[in-house]
Each structure stands twice: as C-alpha cells, then as structure tokens.
Amino acid sequence: MSNFGNFSLLLALCLCVYSVFAALVGAAYRQHRIVRSAERAALAACATILMSLVSLLYLLAVSDFSVTHVANATNRALPVYYKLAALWGAHDGSLLLWVFMTAVFSGVVIYQNRFRYRDMMPYVVAVLMVNLAFFISLNLFLSNPFNQLVQALPDGTLQTFAPQDGRGLNPLLQYWAMIIHPPILYLGFIGFVVPFAFAIAALVTRQLGDTWIRTTRRWTLVAWMFLGTGLILGGKWAYVELGWGGYWGWDPVENSSLMPWLTGTAFLHSVIVQERKGMLKVWNVLLVVITYLLGVFGTFITRSGIVNSVHAFADSSLGKYFIFYMVIVLGASLYLIIDRLPHLKSERPLDSVLSRESAFLFNNLILLVACFAVFWGTMFPVLSEWIQGSKITVGPPFFNAVNIPIGLFLLFLTGVGPLFAWRKTSLESLKKAFLWPMAFSILVAVGLVAAGMRDFYAVTSFTLCMFVLVTIVQEFYKGASVRSKNSGENFFLAIVNLTLKNKRRYGGYIVHFAIVVIFVGLTGNAFNRELSQPMVVGDEMNIGGYSLKMTDFTEGDTPNYQFARVTLQAFRGDKLIRTMTPEKRFYKSGDGQSTTEVELYSTPKEDLYVIFAGISNDGKRSEITAHVNPLVWWVWFGSGIMFLGTLVTLLPDRKGAFSTPSAVPDTRAAIDETVKIK
C-alpha cells in the first residue's frame, strides 16, 4: 500500500507538470483542445492525490509500523480517530494533507470554470499546477510519508522492518480541536491560492477589470473564514491543552497564521473600492500576492525549523526550497505588476479626502502595519542572530506593546468607516453620524472611570467597542426604517430582509459586531488573576470570589497514560458550582511526555481555570494554580458570530426571500434618475 501511495503521488506530479506545459502551450497557440487536456490532467492529478491520501489513511488505520510516518505518529493504544488524525501529526503526513487540500481547491476551481473565462483559465490552471507541483515535489522527494523503516543486517544488506509498536501521537495533539484545527487552518492558507492564480492570469491576459475580483471574492471569503476559524480553534487548543492560562502567546506559528488573515482582511475591504469605483487596482493585486506569499511563508515558518514553536514541526531541510520558491513567485509577480502598470490605472479620481474610499485606504494601512509588526517581531530574532551573532527573544511584551494600540485604532476605524459616505461626506452629515456613537461611548468611558477602572487600554477598548456597536446598530436601524417605511414590513422583518437583500454589506456588519464582541473578550485579559497554592486534602484556596476545597487525590492508569488527579470542590460564596478534577498525565509512548489537563468553569462573566501543577518536594502537597480570566467566553462567542456573519455574506443571492406583497421600489433606479434630471 505504501508503494501504491508513493506511485500515486509521483503520477500526480507528472500530471501537474504536463498540465502546466499544456495550459501554457494551449494558451500561446490558442488551441482549446490542448487547454482542455491540461484541465483534465489537473483533475486527474487531484484524483491520484486522493488515492495517495487514502493509502496513508489506510496504513494509519491498520497500524502498519513499517511506514515511518505511521511508526512516528501513532501507536496501538491510540483510539482510531486519533490514528486517522495522526495524518497531520507529523511533518510528512501533514504535507500530504496540504497537497490534498491544494488539489481539492485547484480541482474545484478548474471544474467550476470549465466553460468560463477561457482567456484566463489556461494561466489559472498553470499557476495552480505550479503551486501544486511544488508541494508534491517537497512531499515526494524531501518529506515522504510513505518511506519505510529499514534495518541493516549483519551482512550489510538493508531490510525493511516493522517495530512492535509506534512512538505514539504527541499527547498535546490528543484533543478534539486538534482533529479539526489543522485541516481548517490549511483550508485558510491554501484558499488564497485561488485569488492569486486569477490575479496572475488577469495580469498576463491584461484583463484587469473587475472580473478576476468578482470571480474570486467568494473564494477569498471562504479562505479568510477558514483561516480565522483555524486561528480561533488554535487559541482554544492552547487555552485548554497547554495549561498556562492564556489562549494567545504570540508564538511564531500563531503569528504566521495571523499575517495572511490581516492582509486578507485588508484585501476584502479594498476590493470593494475597486468594484465600486475602479480604484486601487495595483494595490489589490499586490495584496493578493502578499497574502498568498504569507500563506507559503507560514508553512515555511512551521516546517523549516527557522524559529522555535510549540506548533512547529522539527527542523527539516525544506527551508531553502521554500525561500527559493517564494523569491521566484515574488519576482515574477512584481515583474508582471510593473509591466502591466498602464493597465492598472484607476478609472476614477477620488472625489474627496472625507470619503469611505479614504477610510478604506487608512484601514488598509493600519492592517498592513499590524501585519508588518507581527512579521517584524517574528523575524527579528533571526535578523538579530544574522547581524549580531546572538539570538534574542521577541515575546509577548513586545507584541502587546506594539499591537494593542494598533488593534484599538483598527477597532476605531471599524466604527468610523461606515459613517463616511462613498465619494464625499459633508462635515455636517459627519457630525450627525458621529453624534450617537460618540454620546454612548463617552457615557461608557465616564461610567467605567467612575466605577474605578483605571487601566487605560481597557477603558479605551470598552469605549471603542461601544462606539462601533452604536454605529452598527445605527446602520441596521436606518436601513430597516427606510425599508419598513417603503414596504410596510414590520421592523424586525425589515432587518432580516435588509440583510438578505444586501448580504455582503450587512453580513459585513455582523462580522464587525463579532469583532466588537471578540475585543470585549480580549480586553478581559487586563483583569486576569492568578494564584498558586500547595494543598492537601481538606485545604482551601480563595481567588476572585471563588473558593476551592481539595477533597481527594487519586492516581490511575489507562492503556495510553498514567495520571494523577486532584479533586476540588469549587464554591461561589456558599454555593457549590462545580467539582473540578485537574490532572497530570504521563504518556507511556514516545518520549514519555506529560500534559496538564486543565479544569475549566466558564461563564460569560469569567473563567475559573484550574491546573494541577505538581507535587511538593516532600511529596505531600499538591500544587494548585488557579486563574480567574474575565470575559474569555466572549472571545469564543464572538468567533461564532464572525463565522455566521461570514456565512451570511457567502449566501447565494436568491430572489424573493421573505418578500412581501408590496415590493420595495427600486431606489437605485430612482436615484440614478434624480441625478440625471439634476
């Protein structure tokens, strides 16, 4: 089966290479049949990659330890779902998953557009297949999951062998979110290859209007949604599995996922300007290229061993190949952009500095600066080592100092953007638009300070959250009022129909609302409390209005690990709210790694987060660390809203949804008419 998997992968590589050449030759000689052949070869490559993936899943399921990946990432005691999830538990298998997902994206795009954009598609196919061929080559020649274990016999010959058991899956990966977190994150990273392919095709064919943007908008949104969801799931995993009480540690791998998300967010905003005004064409192409490259860069960070991270795979020899690939892609893209500059001119001038277009530009600037801050902080240790010869650490104090103000300014822009009109905004209307958001936010600021809150960033954040919230409510209220007046719908139905009628705009506002909710959760960090205390049965510790009473200490054994467990009764006042059982686990397989199993009592107000840290030197006391982390629940809740908001923007257009008998007049036509008359 491993030979079959290997062969399938090799065949896929051949098909990709053929597809690239056939697509380019077909485009050059305008031979539709050759282009079609390239597309079919690409689809066949996808099918062979699927076969390769199924082969590895089979090998994992049957515990064929003669295969290195299976032996390194699983053992017999592992439940079957973790055996299958171990596909991405080690470097080579995870690269195969990456290849598979890239193939799926490429295959769907090629199939979906088989009758459309015939000028662009050969180049789209070529770019997608070059990208796929690069990753298949790495997987096949440098990090092959089908390699077999060999042993040297006394006579010097090599022979394959299968150990009795494997090393097992890293215990930190044995958590439900880890079954879905990497694939979702990969979907996000990989998804940006589609807008990149269309952007390059648009540059080559000089078709730099809105077509490529409209075609790839949903793909960009899907990739952005998956990347965001992957980031949140990673945070949830870190919170529950790593046991240090937080969910975001500015780890290089976390950072490398955040960077394309930030540039992707910038792109999603700036394409609106291009679609509506024909402006920012160079900027949008650049953003797509940067976002795609940051996705590759993220993989490079994770797989090259250039930086140290709990999320990274061990050192590998892939780094230089990634650098080579990124340099080639960047060089070719920049050449195309510079060469096509005359085709990338704005179709209209900016009517006014006080306009939504300007607001979008500043939003893009801040998002890019945030991205650069993350990039700079992530790579500065490498730069420092290169220049000074000594590696320094750039950790959370740096990132927080830099990114908190940037984040708050972005939050401010989230609120300000919708208050500006397209083309130009008068100071008078701006004053009117700012009135209620400002009034409410000042009220919140005064209230918080009066209530004794003194943390500058926390007060600013809550104030801005209120500001943005009121702008969003204002937008829905104004829209629904107009609709309700014109159509006779009741107000709430008007809100629903308003959203369904313009899913992109109002779905966007739902996402903005989610950002507000997430910021509320993030701001809770300013009030975290922590206490460590050695305890014996009968002892109590008190933190943030909770008291924890130790009632038991037990040890146990499972086929997979041994454990030591403390039982604590958590009280809020006199009321027992939860019996908590934090654990330490000692895994039998592999390196005998230990993990901390956190116990969590989560409410919208705060999380009570309890860890069994260890046993004292005299062996009599259990060290318990408790954290009270306010508002964390809102981070996860906000993320759910963000997911839903993005889904709303992705919903296909459907006429007559919840329509009422009295149709809403075509306001756009009426306005056009008015403007013409004037």
Binding site: L368, A613, T674
Partner: protein, 158 residues
C-alpha cells in the same frame, strides 16, 4: 503500584519548586513575581516566557523561578532581579528587545513603517482626489434635502 506512584511523584515534584505563594512566605510577592516571570524567558529551549513554560521538571524554569522568589523575598526590586539575570545569562533571557543598540531597531522600524505608510496613503489620497471635485461644495450644502435623503436610501440599498 508502588513503582507507579513513585514514578508519578518524581515526575510531579521538582516543577513546582519556586512557585510564589508557598506556605511560609513572609510577604506577598505575587505581583512582582508575575512581572519578572513575564519579562524573562525560560532557557530550556522552549523560548516561552518563564510564566508560560509548563514543562515538567524543567531544568531551566525551576531554578530560575526559585531564584526570583528568593531575591524578591530578600527585598530586591523587579528591575534588580531582571538585571541580575541579564548580567549572568545575557540579554537573550529577556522576553522583549531592549531599547539599546541594534535592538532599538525592533521598536523604531515599526514607527518608521507607520509614518512612511501614513505619508504614502496621505499622498495617494491627495493625489487621487480630484482638485476640481474637491472644490465642489459637499452634498449636504449643495443638494436639496430630498436628494440627500434619496442618496442616503441608495446607500442603504446598495
């Protein structure tokens, strides 16, 4: 069973040495301890802050934590404790770049980029803004209220 208990006890033990708030502590050092352990990095290779490294029996974090606790209990300030580690281990023990020498570029570069970006965007906005159009009075002043309202409606619908 005894062997297993022993193994678990050994594995569990050393990591907690030096945690603050242990029985017998003379004064509350938890806030200072938290600050110092946030500013220092564990030297075991994990590159986590001392407050974050959760490795069992970590050969670096455990003695560092014990030393921090000891120094703070003796009455040393946060700065003094941090400086003591920097003198002995080097600045690689710090979790953020200093404001001196080459490390300063880590901080300056960002503000440089922000300023450059702001200048570039402002230039683009001013360059792209049509001078003639910018002299036209804003809609609220020029267009009658009905048109303004309709434009507003147009905004809602589009």
């Amino acid at each position: 069973m005894r062997t297993r208990r022993l193994a678990i006890a050994v594995l569990l033990t050393a990591s907690i040495t030096g945690l603050p708030g242990r029985a017998g502590a003379q004064k509350d050092i938890s806030k200072d301890y938290k600050e110092v352990s946030n500013r220092l990095v564990c030297q075991c290779g994990c590159e986590d802050q001392l407050s974050v490294c959760a490795m069992q029996n970590c050969g670096s974090a455990t003695p560092m934590r014990a030393e921090i606790r000891e120094r703070l209990l003796k009455g040393e300030s946060v700065e003094a404790v941090v400086n003591a580690f920097v003198e002995r281990v080097g600045k690689k023990v710090l979790s953020a770049p200093t404001m001196k020498g080459f490390d300063l570029t880590a901080w300056i570069m960002l503000f440089l980029m922000l300023c450059l970006g702001a200048v570039a965007v402002s230039w683009i906005v001013v360059k792209m803004a049509c001078p003639a159009a910018s002299r036209v009075p804003a809609p609220a002043a020029a267009v009658d209220p009905r048109v303004e309202r309709e434009l507003q409606d147009f905004e809602e619908e589009s």
